[in-house]
Symmetry: C2
């Protein structure tokens, strides 16, 4: 690609949108300039453009995104067949096992939820399509990392900011790579309170065309109700059935 094929203003605008996040729902021009590294004048122009188009609101001091911005993500969720195909299966699965079920894909070092059937709330954080979790300590993340060539998985782990969310979180890259090998061999991944105390989950791969692993499915449960050791016995057959059914669709 020649560099004249790159629209700098567009790229900067997207960075401005991403500047809004969890802890920063309302931002002043200077805030955006700082977090994006853009010049204040440029940040201002991006924000005014967003506001002019209705993607953001401006009260004279702070900018905030409007629900119109959801059109952008929705363009993916509705355009990509996978979320739509998977959702009814997750609903059925969730109903059947009495727990939350989700599907996700890998984006960089993170797992991105593309569909979810939430049953009981067992996690403190609220997951929905678009939500992200670090791949290294999520059951679906382990599946998706295990699907990559080992070298690639290692690179992703290397550029992940690994931290221990709980005393159970595995943080050693080599140990994690060993775990990935185990996951690859056994065909499913179990996480026991590595992300959040009291929460465990089990995930399986979803196979697409040419046998490629395109997504992961999981079931999450409260560790108090169901010990991690029992996850495979209780949920693996249902998960594998769903994964098999979904495979037949393609």
């Amino acid at each position: 690609m020649r560099d004249t094929d790159f629209i700098g203003g567009f790229a900067k605008g997207l960075r401005v949108i991403e500047a809004f996040g969890e802890a920063t729902p309302r931002l002043a021009i200077a805030d955006v300039a700082r977090t994006t590294g853009l010049d204040r004048a440029t940040a201002r122009r991006c924000l005014l453009t967003l506001s002019e188009l209705g993607y953001a609101e401006y009260d004279g001091k702070f900018f905030a995104l409007t629900p119109k911005i959801l059109r952008l993500g929705h363009a993916y969720l509705s355009a990509t067949p996978l979320p739509k195909i998977v959702q009814p299966f997750l609903d059925r699965l969730s109903e059947e096992v009495g727990q939350s079920a989700s599907a996700s894909v890998l984006d960089g070092t993170e797992v991105v939820y593309i569909a979810r059937a939430s049953h009981r709330r067992v996690m403190s954080i609220n997951l929905m399509p678009g939500s992200r979790l670090p791949a290294y300590c999520a059951s679906m993340g382990r599946i998706l990392l295990a699907a990559l060539p080992e070298e690639e998985a290692r690179q992703i782990l290397e550029r992940t900011a690994i931290r221990a969310f709980t005393p159970f979180t595995r943080t050693d890259p080599d140990e994690l790579l060993g775990e990935l090998a185990r996951v690859r061999a056994q065909g499913y991944a179990v996480i026991d309170q590595e992300l959040e105390l009291g929460l465990c989950s089990i995930a399986v791969p979803l196979i697409g065309e040419r046998g490629r692993i395109v997504a992961a499915l999981n079931v999450g449960a409260s560790a108090a109700q169901i010990p991690a050791g029992e996850l495979a016995k209780r949920f693996l057959p249902a998960l594998q059935t769903i994964a098999q059914d979904l495979r037949l669709l393609r």
Copy 2:
């Protein structure tokens, strides 16, 4: 705003993202140029930019959005407190009444789902945060339209492409305005199979600061199981309790 404060390239890029949708997951350069009305060269530059940034994939022929694009919508969902606050209440409500519960806001002529606790699948279409429905024939849409000054509601109806999804759909603007008045007076809205046969729902407003209606909550049910006439009796108290609890939070 002076016109030099507007970044055309950014606005065009956003249009390109929105060109991807339900029926068009994969688009060639010329497709995008046609649907957006942009010059082919410009559409190409936008697409290459998206691809360079990892928001899209390019196989040499077609472009498709990647899950990274969800970061943009997620910036809103995680930045705006409302979805996060509402979700646990919806979960509780859904569990309590044994039906799906949702929350939405108005964006133009459409209702945008910002949170949802799906219980049983009663709709043919798959709703999730970011999903959109025409406001005029959705229970939450009626609530949100009724919250506007009548003149504004009329204008929205005028620029809506009103069509009859079922034989029950009300399509006459004056009749709809009358219905809005009724909704405003009684404080809740009931839809009986206007959007989809076999589906009915009931919605209430969610009050924010200064008494402004900031969102709507609803419960959907199968018309076969629960006639529309019984919705108020069965679900209104629970809905109103939730709305009241949520009001206290602010």
